[in-house]
Symmetry: C2
């Protein structure tokens, strides 16, 4: 059996919190019986919920607080006034070593700001990124950044590439993950200055990673590479565009199956197979975005998720802990990242 | 019957040109018998293709040229040396008034550069944009820019919003089209400087357009607004991400229908209904991206399209001509666009 792992939970974060969160922890517990939880939130609401699920009472400890971060709160405001919020206290538990990782379905910007402030970034990393998994024709692809940094320069993109590579190797278990930079075309001359400069660094500095150059939007789901690197603005929009497209397709399909008697009978026979497709493309399956580059494990669950999705986010946090991701990245980053000196050498035209 | 319309065709543009182009013109002719075509390209290849389709010989005039723009050519190089190419000559025919619009499946960057150089932009428009239609749960949505401008400032985005509004009103026939600005969140504080400033202008200057603020990636296919405005980098990636997601879903579906005997029988019964979904989401149906903001009609077909897709692109050009889109935008732009004076007034805090 695996050693005990403790995860801190922002029990008040998410559209349907705290009910959804407690139910999610119950579902996670079924799959991961060795995990313990520190639940931060309003004990008056959490106690009766836990009373409903005696099976998890033993693995959950409630830490009461009255305060919670609203979904609309500005990150800067949370940094000033949110120190007693369930989110802050849950992150703090990781910093103090009481928990190995934190999961929240709350306000993304606030969670990133608090995590950065409390946990700090890993040495050598300028900006943490949000990473998530996409289903593809070949299997799965890791994409980052999904929204932590709306403006990125080329150095940020190079850092994301290195963090993504380490993640794919150590957590996904790929021997030599391939990396692509998201762009509007595959040709060298295409794109904005940041992607062009990042590609030049990744290519010309001969980093020991399998950089495949530019990939396009259709390559994400096409599974052209194992890791897709992009800025947080584009990544967030690509992620949500893909989610919206899946919803459109399944809505059209539902309408089609209702359009004739034959189609209805067809659905009765093929329904089981079609549900498999729904399961494969279910955004809840891919719930749990990793904050990479922090001095501690933090996972963001979709704010609108249900318990099933929240349980998956807990699973992602446990996986990061189990694979000792942060130790790996700390050890590897020096080896992989181009140094300031080498970058200025490159800029001086030493190729 | 509609009056005769003449469209110039870059017969050598596209992966499968010129065969695909001629076949596409034949398909367009079936639907649009009143349209005539000036076909620019290698007559030695075009003559035998036209000989195969006697029904379109009467509406096509071949203009021979040996030269063609390759899909890899740099726009700057085409501007210097491409004056005898089929693409350039086809655009030139519009400038000379010999054709009312031009369609090409060739190199996008080159077509935009040549069109800008030869046709010029409409008065008051700084940057033309590429616009295209998306299928949505409610119907269809216009999105721009899809890749003409990888870097956009807030003024460019405001121009796109105005052009999109005029298009939706006059060509799509919507009375009061709603406009949204693509962003990573709906809240005011979200996003990069360009989208925040563009939203402020569209909101505070009280333009007579129905601006609904920010929309997110999932709102594109969700049909939240009639016109989605974004920069060319993000728009191109969103478009291709949606295409890739549709492909992923249909691949999963195909696999599912093969996974059991019951599913196979189900497919036989529901196949007709499922094909309707394929047709509704078929990228070829949405082929034909409009170049908006030029002093002439130019439509870009996907380079990898087939004849069916090319025929749709021709249809888009004919529609723009028939609705006199450029005259409309010329007349309306002054009324709609915030002036330099009003913008600096706004900047000075006169609200």
């Amino acid at each position: 059996m695996s050693a005990a792992v403790t995860i801190s939970i922002d029990a008040m974060g998410g559209d349907a919190a705290p009910d959804m969160v407690v139910e999610g922890v119950r579902m996670a517990h079924e799959r991961l019986p060795h995990v313990r939880y520190l639940m931060f939130g309003d004990s008056a609401r959490l106690e009766p919920l836990l009373a409903r699920f005696p099976e998890i009472k033993g693995v959950c400890t409630i830490h009461h607080t009255d305060e919670a971060v609203s979904m609309e709160a500005k990150p800067s405001q949370v940094l000033r006034t949110g120190r007693k919020s369930s989110m802050w206290l849950a992150v703090d538990a990781v910093q103090k070593g009481e928990a190995a990782g934190i999961v929240s379905a709350g306000n993304t910007g606030a969670l990133m700001a608090v995590s950065k402030f409390v946990l700090r970034t890993l040495p050598g990393i300028d900006r943490p990124a949000i990473a998530g998994m996409f289903p593809t024709i070949r299997g799965e692809t890791l994409m980052l950044d999904l929204g932590a940094n709306v403006d990125c320069n080329s150095n940020n993109l190079v850092e994301f590439a290195v963090m993504g590579e380490v993640y794919a190797r150590h957590v996904l278990g790929l021997e030599k993950p391939s990396i692509g930079l998201l762009n509007v075309g595959a040709e060298d001359m295409k794109g904005n200055d940041a992607v062009k400069a990042a590609a030049a660094t990744l290519r010309e500095y001969h980093l020991p990673i399998d950089f495949r150059g530019f990939v396009e939007g259709n390559d994400i789901c096409g599974g052209a590479v194992d890791v897709v690197v992009t800025d947080g603005f584009t990544g967030n929009i690509a992620l949500k565009t893909a989610e919206g497209t899946v919803k459109l397709y399944s809505t059209f399909l539902k309408e089609a199956f209702k359009s004739s008697l034959l189609a209805k009978i067809g659905y009765l026979l093929a329904g089981h197979a079609i549900n498999k497709v729904k399961v494969r493309t279910d955004p809840r399956r891919y719930n749990g975005a990793m904050f990479l580059g922090l001095n501690g494990i933090a996972v963001k669950s979709h704010g609108g998720t249900d318990a099933f999705g929240f349980a998956n986010a807990v699973g992602v946090a446990v996986e990061l802990v189990t694979h000792g991701f942060n130790d790996r990245i700390r050890k590897e980053f020096d080896r992989l990242k181009p140094t300031e000196a080498s970058l200025s050498q490159l800029a001086a035209g030493s190729r």
